[in-house]
Amino acid sequence: MLQTPTGTDLYSLGALFPILAVLLGALTSTLLGFWVSRRVLTYLNIGWLLISGVWMMTLWDQGRQAFTRAVTLPDGQPLLTASLQADNPALLLGLVIIVGSLMTMLVSLDTAWRARISFPEFDAMLMYAITGGLLMAFSGDLIVMLIGLEIMSLSGYVLATLQDSRRAEESGLKYFLLGAVGSAILIYGIAFVYGATGSLNYAEISLRVGSVSGLLPQNTGILVGGALLVLAGFAFKIALVPFHQWTPDVYSGAPTSISLFLSTVVKVAVFAGMLRVFSGALADAPGWASVLQVLTAATLIIGNTAALLQANFKRMLAYSAVAHTGFLAMALLGTPATGGAALTYYLLIYTLMTAAALAIVAALQRSEEGMSISDLRGLYYRHPGYAVALAICLASLAGLPPFAGFFGKYLAFQAAFQNGYVWLSVLAAITSVAALVYYLRPGMLMFMPDRTPAREYAHGQRPPTTIAVALGVAGVTILGLLPNLWYGWLGNPDIWRLLAGR
């Protein structure tokens, strides 16, 4: 079974470079932190991220793979499987992760000190988490996906606890315990999927699942069970109802720049993994879709109604992240061709707008508990730039054109609709109204004149945060007016048919 890798394989490590660059950044910041200031580290890491991003672009359409293995199928067909694949979906999702990470870094430049998390470990852990996230997006088998997920989650637990405060610790422990439970369930599910199909590689799994002869009838039960467990495990990580309870506590308990990271990059990466697993490997497996649609519906309802009741802006954004999980999961219910594109589009938009909104919160809040919604009153007259930016983000989150959130929602609706989940799109439309209401209140409060003294941090407006916010707002606006700039890359259905690498 063991095969000595060949020279071509070493060459194909080029496909790995985007990940390696980030990992290198992580390693250097682990060590360099003893000698240079954190600010320098962050700049360096931004550089690494940019290198990684650019490298990803050069890999476009090359379909590079790494750690390949030739397998002979039972019917004599040869099949080349890979543990890591730098195919187009991986690159697209990887770029989304890079964007989110860049914004996190920019924000952390300004706020980490105030949040008392300005340790070099913060940068290191961030980079490790990004490495894990990229691994998930590039994964070619369940084990690589799992490794990526765990690297990311473990770093995430550390990040959430990094601040030496009771809130952060509480949030970290909750995140950790529930994350660990999620991982355990996921791993058990992976074991079952392996048991049913005899392989951990996406390509092989999808082949065995897809062909009738590939799966013994008694294995179908195991497969369904495994797929459901995997789904439940993922559901913990992306906070699908009823596995979402940790989300608001963690997101609102962690320092805001970390909440930003956890609610964007981490979620993007987990969705990337889900896309690989469910739209790729298990696309033809029965059972999971019907459960996912129920979970999605529950998420939409509960996430949106709970967000309505929040008084704290940061916490409201946390619940809105839950609600958005519902929309994102809808995209997952589409066929791989439409769903993948919709999901990836939405993920970028989601990252941009959530990150920009949280960046503003991070910059303006007085304490890491975030700011209450009523504190936003009259923000327009004190920080007109941030207020308008925040309003745009909120409008985009609510799905109002001409901002890109609309197209994200549109694509998600379309993906679910075209795959026969009409009722779900209708439900999503109705719950969006609730979403609009809770986005609208802070959004409009900002523009209402106010005579009481300001309740936000006066010196919050700083260049790096402004760059991050501008990036998010410009992205959301431009992609809303010209969605094709991004959708043109991912609109080709062919690239999504090969999610499993086959």
Binding site: L400, P401, Y410, Q414, V422, S425, V437, R441, L445, F447
Partner: protein, 483 residues
């Protein structure tokens, strides 16, 4: 001017105000009024150019090719008429805003931004584009309410936005369904018309979802509840109300998209919808009668008009539809102008209460013009409203005589509530200790006279507008396969 150039004009017309809105951000304070006014006038001018050319042809370029979304615009027929009225009333609004609002930069920018959305709605010939503009107009409206509104505006805001979004998101689902189930390659209207969803429950449900959005914006009972709050909580000057009135585009949406894309469903649902429309008209008139607040009164009056419009559109009868479009276009003039008149009244008396009393004796011009506008509003012959309402009733009678009769009562009710309120404010004895009221000054004359003049002009000489509308309506109804 070549046809190709005219083809581009709607795009200019739509985006010029938005450009102006952005321009205002960098314009020095003292020039803002002039810039806004100039751009509005320019927009109107472009409208005239298109009108002179007899409407523009369809311009269609891909927007998001992978999704079949196109950028298709066309201003001709009904849409041109509506667009021009919109541009005209926006101009009026800008005029009044420049006079009334201190430091009006923000307000002017919002008016212009909203004008873009509204013009876009009329110009769009692609369903998604239509949706985008439809929502796009919402944001400035919300902001006007948020920035200039009154104490209870948050509630009004939420109500307004929630209703609108509720409808439009359902419409979004419907849009997706229309293309997917009909098998059209793009969302362009022409393609969609060529690939209509086959008749049956699917088409009906899609129509219902689409209608929900339009019914909110018409508005149609029971989805009208946002309307009075919206007007009541808005700035006293009435400027946002003008824009809000212009935003009542539901009838147009049903006309341009609804009827042609859901031919069977619209026939099937005709009795129900017409019933609802007639009820809305009557109900709104009845409620209006009880209002003690000019703005709420006007809101319900507008709602009543919209009931008429809906009655006309849903009847699928040529005469009625033309009447509906006519009414839809021109009621903007006098309803909008009335809101501004109320604004002027408020400026003088400090209240929008109906029972101020005795204004006529001190501000004769204001009272006179308001009365004239009211007469236009209650469809006195010789005013534009009359032609619209009469055609609607005539057409509706051919379809469902009973409903036409019910709706006809409304006109009488309208006279009742309008004149009662007018009498309370302007004629009745002035309470002791009342504030002295000055008469119209400066541009205020223009602001009230211009709309009135237009309304009278088209009430007397309707040919230009009818010539514009008739072919368009005929074409749409022809797609239905006759009556």
């Amino acid at each position: 001017m070549s046809r190709d150039f005219i083809r581009l004009l709607p795009t200019f017309m739509v985006f010029l105000p938005m450009l102006g809105s952005l321009l205002l951000l960098v314009t020095p304070k003292r020039w803002r009024d002039e810039v806004a006014g100039l751009l509005c006038a320019l927009t109107l001018g472009i409208g005239f150019m298109i009108w002179r050319a007899g409407g523009s042809d369809l311009l269609s370029v891909p927007w998001v090719p992978a999704l079949g979304i196109t950028y298709s615009t066309e201003l001709s027929g009904v849409s041109l008429a509506l667009a021009m009225v919109t541009a005209f009333m926006s101009f009026i609004a800008v005029l009044y805003a420049a006079r009334r609002i201190p430091n009006p930069g923000t307000m002017l920018a919002l008016i212009l931004a909203m004008e873009t959305g509204l013009l876009g709605i009329f110009a769009a010939r692609d369903l998604v584009l239509f949706y985008v503009f439809f929502e796009d107009a919402l944001l400035p409206a919300l902001l006007m309410l948020a920035i200039y509104g009154k104490a209870g505006r948050m509630r009004a805001l939420v109500k307004f936005a929630a209703y609108t979004l509720f409808g439009s998101l359902l419409m979004l689902v419907s849009i997706i369904g229309i293309k997917y189930l009909g098998g059209s390659p793009t969302f362009a209207l022409a393609d969609l018309r060529a690939n209509v969803v086959p008749a049956g429950p699917t088409q009906t449900w899609l129509y219902v979802a689409f209608l929900t959005a339009m019914a909110v914006k018409l508005p149609l009972w029971p989805l009208h509840a946002w309307l009075p709050d919206f007007h009541e909580q808005n700035h006293d000057s009435g400027i946002p109300d003008v824009m809000g009135t212009l935003y009542k585009v539901g009838g147009y949406g049903v006309f341009i998209f609804g009827i042609t894309l859901f031919p069977d469903a619209s026939l099937e649902l005709r009795p129900v919808l017409m019933g609802l429309a007639a009820f809305t008209a009557l109900y709104a008139a009845w409620i209006a009668f009880h209002q003690t607040d000019w703005k709420r009164l006007l809101a319900y009056a507008g709602l009543s008009h919209m009931g008429f419009v809906a009655l006309g559109v849903f009847s699928l009868n040529e005469t009625a539809v033309i009447g509906a479009m006519y009414l839809l276009a021109f009621q903007n003039l006098y309803t909008g102008a009335l809101f501004l008149a109320v604004g002027m009244l408020q400026e003088r008396t400090g209240s929008i209460e109906v029972r101020v009393g005795g204004v006529m004796t001190q501000a004769g011009a204001l009272g006179g013009l308001t009365l004239a506008l009211w007469l236009a509003s209650i469809a006195v012959p010789g005013m534009a409203g009359f032609i619209g309402e009469f055609s609607i009733l005539l057409g509706a009678y051919q379809v469902y005589p009973w409903l036409a009769f019910v709706a006809g009562i409304t006109t009488i009710a309208a006279a009742a509530y309008a004149l009662t309120a007018f009498q309370h404010t302007f004629w009745q004895a002035r309470p002791t200790g009342g504030i002295p009221v000055g008469d119209l000054v400066h541009t205020e004359w223009l602001i009230l006279i211009l709309p009135l003049a237009v309304a009278i002009f088209f009430g007397v000489y309707s040919a230009p507008a009818l010539n514009l509308m008739q072919p368009a309506v005929k074409a749409v109804l022809a797609a239905l396969g006759g009556n």
